[in-house]
């Protein structure tokens, strides 16, 4: 099977002796919406930097749609679009020039580049700003400009490193919709994000990287099934100052005055509603607390850190 991205034994050693990647293996299927998660300094950006040729690797292999970056770099790059974490366009150039110039680097003639630039600038709501110098754009617009630039040559694999960092909620949602549409049309997407809600909402498969190692590589569904406890947020008919005593359930009142109840896997919701009924609490609406992935993520990273420190003690 040809993957959109295959990474085998990827190692990155810096000249100061720091090992950023310690032999990473990763496969991303064609058409996938994939999240690469990890705490700061875990190796996410280094991994994506190597895939996009911005970082030299020390060892291992990387293939993009079957093209090895050591032997077929040009073919690998044609299939790749990259949206980096930091703004990396010329602040003095106009929006349209930035996008058409990028197309030119891929060998797309100017006439055709203008058509493609118009398509993506319109889709991302930047067409009206096409003649504006990029430094005059807002932070959200700059992020969208980088997405338009990455897509102008119609790559099959789009890599986004923290694409919604510092973007307001409304814009973040519209960017999610755009990325989902791109994915539906066949573009494979790899995303790193600090907003685990984002990964939970968008991605089908997830890898968690910590201290230069992949500590988990699985589907989102499988990952979420590991949750032993799920938290539900209940809006009740009257304000609660203190959490009610519900037999078998742990309750808290959140900042908005809503009731949060932890339900252990297998416990079932019927028992919860019986307890609420017994306490005279009427539920007006109910939702799942959207940080399930975050809970798992924190747990896995903590477990990994604990394993490493134990190993270090044994070695010492």
């Amino acid at each position: 099977m040809t993957y959109a991205l295959e990474i085998e034994g990827l190692v990155k050693n810096y000249s100061d002796g720091f090992q950023a990647l310690k032999g990473i293996d990763l496969q991303v299927r064609k058409g996938d919406f994939f999240a690469l998660l990890g705490p700061n300094g875990a190796g996410k950006s280094t991994t994506l930097g190597i895939v996009s040729s911005l970082v030299n690797k020390s060892g291992g292999r990387v293939r993009v749609f079957g093209h090895d970056i050591d032997s077929e770099l040009s073919k690998a790059k044609v299939n790749l679009g990259v949206v980096p974490q930091e703004f990396n366009f010329n602040q003095f150039e106009k929006v349209i020039d930035i996008v058409t110039t990028q197309a030119g680097y891929y060998g797309i003639p100017l006439k055709q580049a203008k058509v493609s630039a118009e398509k993506y600038l319109k889709k991302l709501g930047l067409w009206d700003k096409r003649d504006t110098p990029s430094r005059m754009l807002s932070g959200g617009m700059k992020r969208r400009l980088m997405i338009a630039r990455a897509l102008v040559h119609e790559p099959r694999l789009l890599i986004l490193d923290e694409p919604t960092a510092g973007v307001d909620i409304e814009l973040r949602r519209s960017m999610w919709q755009f990325l989902e549409e791109m994915n539906r049309q066949g573009t494979t997407i790899i995303l790193t994000t600090h907003y685990l809600e984002e990964a939970e909402a968008l991605c089908r498969n997830i890898a968690i990287i910590d201290q230069g190692k992949i500590i988990r590589h699985t589907s989102k569904r499988e990952l979420l099934q590991q949750l032993s406890v799920e938290t539900f947020v209940l809006d009740t008919d009257r304000g609660l100052d203190t959490p009610p005593k519900l037999s078998g359930f742990h309750c808290t009142i959140n900042d908005d005055g809503a009731l949060e109840v932890d339900v252990v896997k297998g416990q079932g919701l019927n028992a919860l509603f019986i307890e609420l009924e017994n306490n005279g609490i009427k539920v007006m609406s109910m939702r799942t607390k959207a940080n399930r992935l975050e809970e798992l993520f924190v747990r896995m990273v903590e477990d990994n850190a604990r394993d490493d420190s134990t190993q270090a003690e044994v070695t010492a």
């Binding site: 810096y14 930097g49 996009s52 040729s53 911005l54 970082v55 030299n56 770099l73 040009s74 073919k75 790059k77 044609v78 790749l80 990259v82 980096p84 930091e86 703004f87 990396n88 366009f89 010329n90 602040q91 003095f92 020039d97 930035i98 110039t101 990028q102 030119g104 680097y105 891929y106 060998g107 797309i108 003639p109 100017l110 630039r149």
Partner: protein
């Protein structure tokens, strides 16, 4: 990439460079025009009239080829060093690094961009000089080849400087402390025949001397050195610097982690 795609990528880099230096023309095109006009007025007209002839020509005619070459050298170098370093500084160089453009196309694109500015300045200064003196061309192919190759050579120099630079200070050190002294001592304002024999010998290790004299031979038909030796020296330096620049690009010196 196909040959057609490579050509498009090359033209894109050159066009971007031309757009850059024409957008900021008060910083790029105007200053050398003003400086060279002052040279023509002060050294050519005011002081030159008291110096008399040099190499069989009046002083103004003698210094014009050197001044044109000086403008070409500094502009070619400055264009590439400032453009490439600011791309590194703003990280917009990553736009090129993620694309399939091969290193040699990146290099030739930037060199062509530097040449476009250097030759534009050369043309502007030549036109300005016509207001002060009559300029006849002794050997047109020699003029064209020398000015093109010199512009290419110093564009390459600017590229290497930009690759090595880590801060803005680093891109002004070479032009200020190396390029300008070598240009002034490269026979722009005098014939090396006027120097004591030791300094004549010392001048021969200055590469800019060959370029200035090659160009002067093309215009006036006089030169302190054999013009074909001049061309040979320029070609050798171009090959050497191009090899160094390509090696640095392949290693990602200063642009890849």
């Amino acid at each position: 990439m196909t040959a057609q795609a490579l050509w498009t990528a090359f033209c894109t880099i050159v066009l971007r460079e031309v757009r850059r230096f024409t957008r900021i023309w008060p910083q790029t095109l105007l200053p050398p025009a003003v400086t060279m006009t002052l040279y023509f007025i002060i050294f050519g007209n005011l002081i030159g009239s008291r110096i008399g002839e040099m190499g069989g020509f009046d002083y103004m005619q003698f210094i014009v080829p050197g001044l044109i070459m000086m403008a070409v050298i500094t502009s070619s170098y400055a264009n590439v060093v400032s453009s490439f370093f600011s791309m590194k500084f703003q990280r917009s160089i990553e736009e090129l690094l993620v694309s399939p453009v091969p290193n040699w196309t990146i290099l030739t694109g930037y060199v062509a961009g530097g040449m476009a500015r250097g030759l534009s300045i050369g043309l502007i200064v030549t036109l300005l000089s016509l207001a002060f003196t009559r300029l006849s061309v002794h050997n047109l192919p020699m003029v064209v080849i020398t000015v093109f190759l010199t512009s290419a050579l110093f564009s390459l120099g600017g590229f290497i400087n930009a690759m090595l630079a880590t801060k803005f200070d680093d891109i002004s050190i070479v032009p200020t402390f190396v390029l300008t002294p070598l240009t002034y001592l490269g026979g722009v304002f005098y014939s090396i025949d006027m120097l004591p024999s030791f300094w004549q010998g010392a001048s021969m290790i200055n590469p800019i001397l060959y370029m200035v004299n090659g160009f002067r031979f093309g215009i006036l038909g006089v030169s302190d050195v054999n013009p074909f030796v001049s061309l040979g020296m320029i070609v050798i330096f171009i090959v050497l610097l191009a090899a160094i620049a390509l090696r640095m690009l392949a290693r990602g010196k200063g642009i890849r982690h």
